[in-house]
């Protein structure tokens, strides 16, 4: 992870946000809910709280805009740049902007939330059957008022469940008309309009008058996008017109004819050949939730991560069951975690000195185990035997990452190696100095990413350290691991307080909070960790990849369970000469 230069962060935890305007792509309630869930991603793992306000200056002001939208950092039309945000601070700092030339969805195609009808605002179900015909868009069939509607189940004929689709005939958003629908035709600057227009505006948003004469009444609102609204082209937001004529042929659906890139488009008048008005048909679009969660990471002080699976990775990719990556958690907790990040120094966020290594807290006292947040042991360990060379060891009792540094344990000694601080191998240090009470030889260790507690395993016993405070030894049967298991050989931290414990050809999933293994375990390692040694001597998570060691070799596996490297522990990981 990376924080902005100077670890910019908010000086208070109860943050406010305000949505200045809404994209016409989604119902306002869908956008509000997506932003609420996006903030919750971060409040779930920090003491931060987020409150939406509806007037005045909030810490995080959110807006949609396209091209140049007032901050000197223009967007670039459909695709490419999706959004940007500013690090914590006053004024524009902390704000988040979303490119409204994109199609905003929840990542899997348009979300058509209904109003009125008898389905309590349920989303349209596409396709649906009405009078025996199947439809994949809102229709006006069956009505005389021209209001587009849809079924909210697969068959209207069977279930009679329906609602009205977003349309300017039903309501408008923003403006000064409290959501009243458009009135057509309306007069604007002496001209009569019978559809929404972008005339008179430079931001490309479609609007209409909500009385017959705007010149006279000045009453207006913004037009919601219909389900067939086009994206980009030269008619952004206008609905497709079916059928339309193109190169003399008639089309009743979107087509890729005339294009080499296979993208689907439609005309927004009945005749493309004469009017040349067109746009792209809706595709999967971009998840406003995922993009917002990323941008709010910036608003809180996180810069881009180089971890592909992390939320703060700069490129967009749709993820169905989103889960915050440990890299993101470490980053945000570095800034706002309980006592582990730099304390705010003044009443407004000011750049602190250059980012320091994770601060060690001198001699902290803990209240109870549940509440404590444990920094690493007090003070820097003193090398007891610098002559003891890690590169001379054939293998190690245990290897694991603690506070961002790899730790190599052997016979009561340990060495550290940090890829971040380019200081090479540090040590040997004495295990007893840093973690008094541990046996000389341990089998495995891991640090819980959320609480920073460190678990050690030796034989059938385990110890839990919170700083200098130690719990244990206790038997691993207390974790729910059966008698047949002689030793734990390694551990892989997962998200949400879960850790996989390995022994022989099996593994268990430990819930760190309750300190019990989950039901349905053990499972055979080979089930998903295919291609790695099943009798690995060490198993550890490092730089978001799984490492299985046997002898002097290691097998590295990606989070997608592909072995992407086999190498020497000594030369590749320890970087011995």
């Amino acid at each position: 992870f990376l924080t902005f230069e100077g670890d910019l962060k908010w000086d208070h935890m109860d943050l406010t946000y305000r949505v200045m305007n809404y994209s016409p792509d989604l119902d306002r309630a869908v956008i509000d809910d997506a932003f609420r869930r996006a903030f919750k991603v971060w409040s779930d793992v920090t003491p931060l709280t987020f409150t939406q306000i509806y007037s005045g200056e909030a810490d995080i002001m959110i807006m949609f805009g396209s091209q140049e939208h007032g901050d000197g950092y223009p967007f670039d039309g459909k695709d490419g740049l999706l959004a940007h945000a500013f690090p914590p601070g006053q004024g524009i700092q902390g704000d988040a902007h979303f490119d409204d030339d994109e199609l905003w969805t929840l990542g899997t195609g348009i979300v058509v939330k209904t109003r009125h009808g008898n389905a309590n605002g349920a989303d349209c179900h596409f396709p649906f059957v009405f009078e025996g015909r199947s439809y994949s868009r809102c229709i006006t069939e069956g009505r005389t008022d021209g209001l587009p509607w849809c079924a909210t189940t697969g068959s209207y004929d069977r279930d009679k469940k329906y609602g009205f689709c977003p349309s300017e005939l039903l309501y408008t958003t923003g403006g000064n008309s409290d959501g009243s629908p458009c009135v057509f035709p309306f007069i604007f600057e002496g001209t009569s309009y019978d559809a929404c227009t972008t005339d008179g505006r430079s931001d490309g948003y479609r609007w209409c008058a909500t009385t017959a004469n705007f010149d006279q009444d000045k009453k207006y609102g913004f037009c919601p996008n219909r389900d067939t609204a086009v994206v980009g082209g030269n008619s952004q937001g206008d609905p497709c017109v079916f059928p339309f004529t193109f190169l003399g042929q008639s089309y009743s659906t979107c087509t890729s004819q005339g294009r080499q890139d296979g993208k689907l488009w439609c005309a927004t008048t009945s005749n493309y050949d004469t009017d040349k008005k067109w746009g792209f048909c809706p595709d999967r679009g971009y998840s406003i939730f995922l993009v917002a969660a990323h941008e709010f990471g910036h608003s809180l002080g996180l810069d881009h991560s180089s971890v592909r699976e992390a939320l703060m990775y700069p490129m967009y990719s749709y993820i169905q069951d989103f889960q915050l990556h440990p890299d993101d958690v470490q980053g945000i907790q570095y800034l706002y975690g309980r006592g582990s990040g730099p304390e705010p120094t003044a009443s407004t966020p000011v750049p602190t000195e250059k980012p320091q290594p994770m601060p060690t807290e001198a001699g902290s006292t803990f209240t109870t185990e549940e509440e404590e947040e444990t920094p690493e042991p007090t003070g820097e360990p003193i090398p007891v035997d610098p002559s003891r060379d890690a590169c001379a060891e054939k293998n190690f009792d245990a290897i694991t990452e603690i506070n961002g540094e790899l730790h190599f344990f052997k016979d009561g000694k340990y060495w550290t190696h940090s890829s971040f601080w380019k200081m090479g191998i540090q040590g040997a240090f004495s295990v007893a100095d840093t973690w008094p009470g541990l046996p000389l030889v341990i089998d495995a260790a891991f640090q819980d990413l959320l609480t920073k507690r460190i678990f050690f395993f030796a034989g059938r016993q385990f110890w839990v350290f919170s700083g200098k405070t130690m719990l244990g030894p206790r038997g691993i049967e207390k974790l729910g691991i059966g008698k047949g298991v002689g030793r734990i050989s390694g551990a892989l931290q997962r998200g949400r307080g879960k850790v996989l414990l390995f022994s022989g050809e099996n593994y268990w999933r430990l819930d760190v909070k309750v300190q019990r293994v989950d039901k349905g375990y053990p499972r055979a390692t080979d089930d998903i960790f295919t291609g790695v040694p099943l009798d690995a001597h060490n198993v550890f998570l490092y730089q978001d990849k799984y490492h299985f060691c046997r002898g002097s070799f290691y097998w590295r596996m990606t989070p997608r369970y592909q072995v992407d490297r086999v190498g020497y522990v000594k030369y590749d990981i320890l970087q011995c000469p």
């Binding site: 695709d79 740049l81 030269n234 659906t253 890729s256 294009r259 810069d303 490129m315």
Partner: protein, 90 residues
């Protein structure tokens, strides 16, 4: 749905933001916009060397193979939808 027959004449659609940038221009814009190279570097150093150096920096940051070349993966990454905040620098 009936397989779309082979597309007829390819039409140039009015208002389409066609990128007529060459791959190198696309790369130079991208590297500049996201902080992998500065205007000064782009102007002074030898074009090829500074491009290769900036490409390597971008490939490392984005977890791509560090070739220093404008290979397919790198071009694809440059065209992928993304956040507008620079990857390097303020």
């Amino acid at each position: 749905a009936p397989l779309q027959s082979k597309p007829q004449a390819v039409v140039t659609f009015p208002g389409e933001l066609l990128s007529n940038l060459s791959d190198v221009e696309l790369a130079e814009n991208y590297l500049l916009r996201f902080g992998y190279t500065t205007g000064a570097e782009a102007r002074t150093g030898s074009k090829h060397v500074s491009l290769a150096k900036a490409l390597r920096r971008m490939q490392k940051q984005l977890g791509l193979k560090e070739t220093g070349e404008l290979d397919a993966d790198t071009l694809e990454a440059m065209r992928a939808p993304r956040c507008g905040v620079p990857d390097v620098g303020p």
